[in-house]
Symmetry: none
Amino acid sequence: MARKLESHGRLDDAARAGWLYYVAGRTQDEIASAMGISRQSAQRLVSLAVAERLIKVRLDHPIAACLELARALRDKYDLKHVEVVPSDAGSSSTTVGIAEAAAAEIERWLKRSDPIVLAIGTGRTLKAAVDQLPVIECPQHRVVSLTGNIGPDGSAAYYNVIFSMADAIKARHYPMPLPVLVTASEDREVLHAQALVRSTLDISAQADVTFVGIGEMGIDAPLCLDGFLEKDEMLALMKRGAAGEICGWVFDGQGRLLVDPINDRVASAPIPSRETSSVIGIAKGKRKLSAIKAALTGHQINGLITDEATAEFLLRD
Amino acid sequence: MARKLESHGRLDDAARAGWLYYVAGRTQDEIASAMGISRQSAQRLVSLAVAERLIKVRLDHPIAACLELARALRDKYDLKHVEVVPSDAGSSSTTVGIAEAAAAEIERWLKRSDPIVLAIGTGRTLKAAVDQLPVIECPQHRVVSLTGNIGPDGSAAYYNVIFSMADAIKARHYPMPLPVLVTASEDREVLHAQALVRSTLDISAQADVTFVGIGEMGIDAPLCLDGFLEKDEMLALMKRGAAGEICGWVFDGQGRLLVDPINDRVASAPIPSRETSSVIGIAKGKRKLSAIKAALTGHQINGLITDEATAEFLLRD
DNA sequence: ATAATGCGTGAGTAATTGCCCATGAGCAAA
DNA sequence: TTTGCTCATGGGCAATTACTCACGCATTAT
């Protein structure tokens, strides 16, 4: 039985109780009898020590920084889901790390027993993520592609992700039998009116969760590399304020869809509702930075999987 | 597919769960659903994070009674550094509390940007302290062991601390490739003359700060438990006035190195200068009391990390 | 003086957590 | 391929902790 409390002050006792609890690992009952108080009082002292920040908890693991960044990003951009993976400074890959993380997250969704609609965009990052998926049987779910797989020249675009996904995921899957960009907006209307396309569009609108890559602008951007846009078209687009694209939908620096002929030619499904579903962007890298930031700012996405370095840049200003 | 969902590894999950639990303050149920696992698994991850020392808890409050004791000890024994942690009356552990405090102090030294030499002894307490250290990169420092790690039978002594330390601290480290006790003093001269040993000894003499455990005498003493001394040798030693031991150097009740054949056989480096450097003892407990007191009295150490109860006894007379 | 206010207390109860066990997957040796 | 081992898992249950409520005691304002 220890001295009376008043002689030390309440915070002192809180510190002592907190020490016994967290450092020495005693139960509150033991602390109570050691300090000559009731168990409830011991509990109060412990929680007081926590409330007064007398107890500092630290996590000594690289992932700690990631979680901090994720929380900061979530707060700053009002996101539903953020995942920050450790950066691999030595690697210039735009997929290492986030692909695995994205795969893990996709897997989490697919493991749910209640049926969901999972929508998926395209891009190298997403392809890498899907390649990480294990084989899962989930006949209860549906997987729908938001974007077409046909290039401007009629060839199949390499990075149509849904077919890779179909290899691993035993679920109904709905590709989008369309080009990414049509030549004129009228064409889009015609194509979208087709029954098959129509039903895929309808399913995509019901998506519970969506995974999309985020494309940057520039002459090295995916849209150019994959032959959807010519260099001069791209440069003109950038002059008109384009900052990035998701499934071909081009947005400006504020993340607002660009009012521009280009967006009238996008044949992709609209990005599912950020109000009623999760739309998770997967992207990292300095080149994609402003595109990611715009997408976040304009709430084109409400979830993000990125890496530490990118997260830090996103938080910088 | 054999891909590990553990692309980030089990420890990372443990870190994540631990962070969510201790830092974010979520319940294990929330963590479970957030990570897509069962609550039990979440609980396991949290306790794994604790077991693996991923979670470090420290108390940021000067407990008045402890500070008072520390000041009194510093004055009484003319010490440079004293730390007193709360006692845990119910626990018989000789390390709980002081190990954490010692780790924090070691960390403080290692965080210095100017290069230092940190010397380290051995013992269970010191081992426990080193196990609390986080991973630190400090290539500017050097860490040197004062004692060897080879037992009388040629086996490696379990409590050689420097190897544990090398796991966490990224700095050059210098083990002492010697037994603690050699069979004859001549052997010691031969061994110490070796170039490798010579340089380690030289470095240890330059130590800026030293952390040592304090061993008591008795048939349950560390020296006996670890097989360096037989019971009858120990009893004879006690008859000749031995009161305690630091790195194998046996001293009497006044803290003077015992003039005795035993000390001629100690192969450890001399304890670094108490005039020009900090030599901090880490010890608590009734059994070690007279050894601690002797070490303080004879200025074998000029710093101490102990607990309240021990501090009170040390001040009693 | 007396009532209002604030703070701490203990009791009871709901929520949360820790632990043990049986099970099954993965893996290595036979 | 089989056997045996290790290890993670989920369920169930006991222990522990958090919260709410009503009360007592002191201080303060009227």
